[in-house]
Amino acid sequence: MNVPRPRLGVFKFASCDGCQLSILDCEDEILAVADRVEIAYFLEATRRPLEGGFDVSLVEGSISSPEQIDQIKDVRERSKFIVAIGACANGGGIQGLRNFISIEESIAAVYANPSYVKTLEKSRPIADFITVDLELQGCPINKYQLLNVIAQMLVGAKPRVPDHAVCLDCKRRNIVCVVVSQGKACMGPVTSTGCEALCPAHDRGCFACYGPSHQPNTAALASRFESIGVPSDQIRRFFHAFYSTSQEFVAEGLRHV
């Protein structure tokens, strides 16, 4: 098939680099796309300087400091299509926990001498600053989901990223429900798919690291958590851990203090 070789850029903001590592973890699969995509900028993997424009940019991380606002706007201007990857880029990430307390409080807790710390008051998702064309959720993202998006874009199809509840994947994989069979707290019923039910497959409840599913009924699940004896502050943490920018999750968490 004669498809022009698109230029791909990978950019990082406030993050742990885990999503970029998921890309590097595509060792075998990346060879299949190597001659179909030009990886033009990816500091974690190559030293090529930032030059020119990009057909597709993958953006990891939240916007957490003032200079990152200018940088993300520059990425937008250089890019035709932006995919924000991961919980940080789309939901504020773990560092978004600071959004629930005052910035002075969190700086004082971390730095002995905070005079040189320049930071925004809140850790915010990419979409607060620029138009994002596609969001891939997760902490970290699922490499197969990313590869599938790239494959779909290369054949000219609209990338499809489902956002149904994790439960559907548990059942497709014949995983026995940990809520029903063991009384464990699991965020699966309100959490977006993408991970292929990784935690329940290892006999653990879901931690909601892919953020809210479409129309999550958070109140019904929280009420179930209460009835199986999950302490109130733990219910709050379930909803606030990764996606501090989700209105549904934040509001539900605040009902459990």
Binding site: L154, H164, S181
Partner: protein, 375 residues
């Protein structure tokens, strides 16, 4: 009858010592069957490969309630002393994920290759009456309509079915009220009733008879036949839940704006669990999965659900935009429009949707609330 004397005739009922079931399992594997049946895994009795008789959950049972399932030890060593678990035979006849065909792209053409991978010959061991009815319903969906599903057909035609008459009912069971159990009446090759030290074996088909050929057995006595009947009667009498099906389709159609739909929508997670564990739900999604090198693409079919908002998404939006409309769609399809569509109710009273709902929504309670029954 002395068994070594050849194939037991169809329609006969014989008695085998319990450990002899192991010889039947061996025979099935030797004859090329993949034997699947109840076995312990994780924290439930699931359906998986049964290599030997010890793979059965001997001495285990289950305690079930709305939204709750727990494994428990029995005081005896019963082989089938439990009700249905989270899996059904749907996993094997209509697998969660199937490649329908693949497409190879060439310079000026493309080749479509149907998936003709060989499918296993399954022997289903321990199928309950509710699930026999569920298989019959999926037959109507996949085989008896204007289009035959080749993938289902290949698996279904090869499957050998060994039923078990239920000796216990979970609190979530309500097959008696649906007319679908607990006695298995058709759709099996062999049917077992578990007595104290023996199994009563009903031989229903030549295929079932062939499996019993050479297996040590004797003719059942009148006393044993009576004892077996009493076991199933007792199970029926112990069933706590029921669903009143009298005029149910019309009742539901006349109550599409009943306030109960709003109430259940407040509790419902729209998580899809009820539809996934339902042995008759057949909704699925089709997806094109292109290969990374761009040389080919696969058409994948996966289980999907009317509770997945994406499932009803089409040009112009989602015609079931909230949980209320999705729950109402499921319940009215299962209990009402299913009858218009396939001539039978879509519910077989297995109770899985009740047990495996993470918040314990009970289909019998919801239907009763619409009817105005006091529960």
């Amino acid at each position: 009858m002395n068994s070594s004397a050849g194939i037991a005739p169809t329609g006969e009922t014989v008695v085998i010592e319990k450990p002899v079931l192991g010889a039947i399992i061996d025979r099935l594997w030797r004859d090329g069957y993949t034997v699947v049946g109840p076995t312990l895994a994780e924290s439930a009795i699931v359906i998986d490969q049964v290599r030997a008789i010890d793979d059965l959950p001997i001495g285990w049972t289950d305690e079930q309630e709305a939204g709750m399932y727990r494994l428990r030890r029995r005081e005896d060593r019963a082989y089938f002393g439990y009700a249905v678990g989270p899996h059904s035979w749907k996993q094997y006849l209509f697998p969660p994920k199937t490649t329908l065909y693949s497409i190879e792209f060439h310079a000026d053409a493309m080749t479509v290759k149907p998936n003709v991978d060989p499918v296993p010959s399954y022997a289903f061991l321990g199928v309950r009456s509710c699930d026999l009815h569920a298989i019959e319903i999926q037959d109507r969906v996949f085989l008896h309509g204007p289009y035959v599903d080749r993938h289902y057909q290949a698996r279904r035609e090869k499957a050998l079915i060994i039923a078990v008459h239920c000796a216990v009912a979970a609190s979530t069971c309500f097959c008696a009220s649906m007319g679908t159990g607990p006695r298995s009446v058709r759709g099996f090759d062999l049917a077992l009733t578990e007595l104290e030290g023996e199994f009563l074996v009903e031989i229903a088909t030549p295929r079932g008879a062939a499996i019993c050929d050479g297996i040590p057995s004797r003719a059942a006595t009148g006393y044993e036949l009576g004892a077996a009947a009493r076991i199933v009667d007792k199970t029926r009498d112990s069933m706590k839940r029921s669903l009143n099906t009298n005029g149910l389709p019309d009742l539901l159609y006349q109550n599409l704006e009943h306030p109960r739909w709003d109430q259940v929508a407040e509790r419902c997670l729209s998580c899809t669990n009820c539809t996934m564990v339902c042995p008759t739900c057949f909704c699925h999604a089709l997806e094109d999965v292109p290969a990374l090198d761009g040389a080919s693409s696969e058409k994948i079919r996966q289980w999907d659900s009317c509770f997945n908002p994406d499932h009803a998404h089409m040009a112009g939006g989602n015609n079931r935009p909230d949980i209320r409309s999705r729950y109402r769609q499921w319940l009215t399809h299962k209990l009402a429009s299913w009858v218009d569509q396939y001539g039978v109710s879509g519910c077989v009273g297995c109770g899985r949707c009740v047990t495996w709902c993470p918040v314990g929504i009970d289909i019998t309670e919801e239907a009763a609330a619409i009817r105005g029954d006091q529960q």
